[in-house]
Symmetry: C2
Subunit: 200 residues, 2 copies
C-alpha cells in the first residue's frame, strides 16, 4: 500500500498510527540522503545514507522507486518490500506521486491512497508547526500544486480530518481490496471445480 500526500498532509503520523493499530501493516523503510531530524532513528524512520551509497543502490537495481524531493534523494529498497510480502504482510510506503507511479508499474496490485487535509489552512498550519522557514513552505506548496494535478492517478482519496477516522478508512480500504475479484481467483476456481465434479 502506497500512501502519498502533500508535505504536511500528515502521512507520517497516519502511518505510525496505522502500524500501531493493525499488525497486518508494516512499514517498508526507505533510504534517504536527507539529514536526520531530531528524534528520528536510522533503520526505523529511514536508512540514512550518503549520496554515494544511494547512487550505488540505485545503479545496482536495488531500489523499487527513487526520487529527488526538495534536493534530497529518497528510495525504497526492493528487499524491504519483498521480505514483508513473503510473510503475508502489507508493506506500507509513504512516498511521493512519482514513486507511487513507479511502484504501481512494478507491482500493479499495489493500492495507492492520496491523503488530503480537510483544507489548505490545516496544511499550512502543520508546516508552520514543524517550524519550517517560509521559503521552505513556499517550495512545498508549489510541489503540492503539481502533486494535486496528478491525484487522479491514485486509487483512493482519504480526507485526513480526524486522525483515527483516516486510519480506520485506510484499514477498511485494505479489507475491501481483499474482496476484489482480481484477488479472489483461488476461491472462484475452487467453487467452479466443485460444480464440475458435482452429481445430483
Amino acid at each position: 500500500m502506497v500512501i502519498s500526500a502533500p508535505s504536511g498532509g500528515g502521512k507520517t503520523t497516519i502511518r505510525e498510527k496505522l502500524l500501531k493499530r493493525d499488525k497486518r501493516f508494516r512499514f517498508s523503510v526507505t533510504c534517504t540522503t536527507r539529514p536526520m531530524r531530531p528524534g528520528e532513528v536510522d533503520g526505523k524512520d529511514y536508512y540514512f545514507v550518503t549520496l554515494k551509497e544511494f547512487r550505488r543502490l540505485r545503479s545496482g537495481g536495488k531500489l523499487l522507486e527513487w526520487a529527488s524531493v526538495h534536493g534530497n534523494m529518497y528510495g525504497t529498497p526492493v528487499k524491504s518490500v519483498m521480505t514483508l510480502l513473503k510473510k503475508g504482510l502489507i508493506p506500507v510506503m509513504t512516498i511521493d506521486v512519482k514513486g507511487a507511479r513507479s511502484v504501481k508499474k512494478i507491482f500493479p496490485e499495489t493500492v495507492t491512497v492520496f491523503l488530503l487535509p480537510p483544507g489548505l489552512k490545516t496544511l499550512v498550519g502543520r508546516l508552520r508547526k514543524r517550524r519550517e522557514p517560509a521559503a521552505n513552505i513556499r517550495v512545498r506548496l508549489e510541489t503540492a500544486k503539481k502533486e494535486i494535478k496528478e491525484a487522479s492517478f491514485f486509487d483512493y482519496l482519504v480526507i485526513n480530518d480526524r486522525l483515527s477516522e483516516a486510519v480506520g478508512d485506510i484499514r477498511d480500504i485494505a479489507d475491501i481490496e481483499c474482496m476484489k475479484i482480481s484477488r479472489k481467483q483461488a476461491e472462484i476456481q475452487r467453487f467452479g471445480l466443485e460444480l464440475l465434479k458435482f452429481r445430483l
Copy 2:
C-alpha cells in the same frame, strides 16, 4: 450496485437484509414475466407483466437490461434506477451476469458484486429448501457453471457464509467505493483551487 449470484446464492435474502439495515440502499424493482411465487407482492418484489407488455417496454427502450432466465423474461426499467439516483440513493439490482454487463456498459460507475455461498453443499441445500424439483436444480447448477466462468467480470466477490457479515461487507464496499479517486473529483478540484489562490 449490482448483486449477482448463482440461483440459491442468497441474493434476495441479502438484498432484503441490506435494505433494512442501511437506508442509502434502495431496491430498483425489476419487471418479470415469471409467475408470482407465494408471498410475493406486485410492484414490491417485481412488476409482474405479460410477455406482450414486456416486449413493448423492451422495444420502447425503457429497459436498462433484460434477460431470459430459465424461460422467463426479466428486465430493469431505466426509470426505477434514475429516480433513485436523482435522490442520491444507491439503487440495488439483483440481476444475472448478462444484466450486470449491460448495466455496467450504460453506467460505468456501477459497482458489481458476485455472491458465492461458502461451498456447493450450501447452494444445493438452499435450492432443495425451496422445494425446487430435481430437474430445475440441475438446470440451475448448469447455469451456475456458466456464470462462475464470468465471475471475473465483477468488481468484488463476497462469500455469503454468515448473512449479517455478508451484508456488512456490501455496506463496507459502498463506503470504500465512495473514497475512490474517480468519485472524488470535486474535492480534489476544490483543494487545487485553494492552492492556486493562496498567498503566504
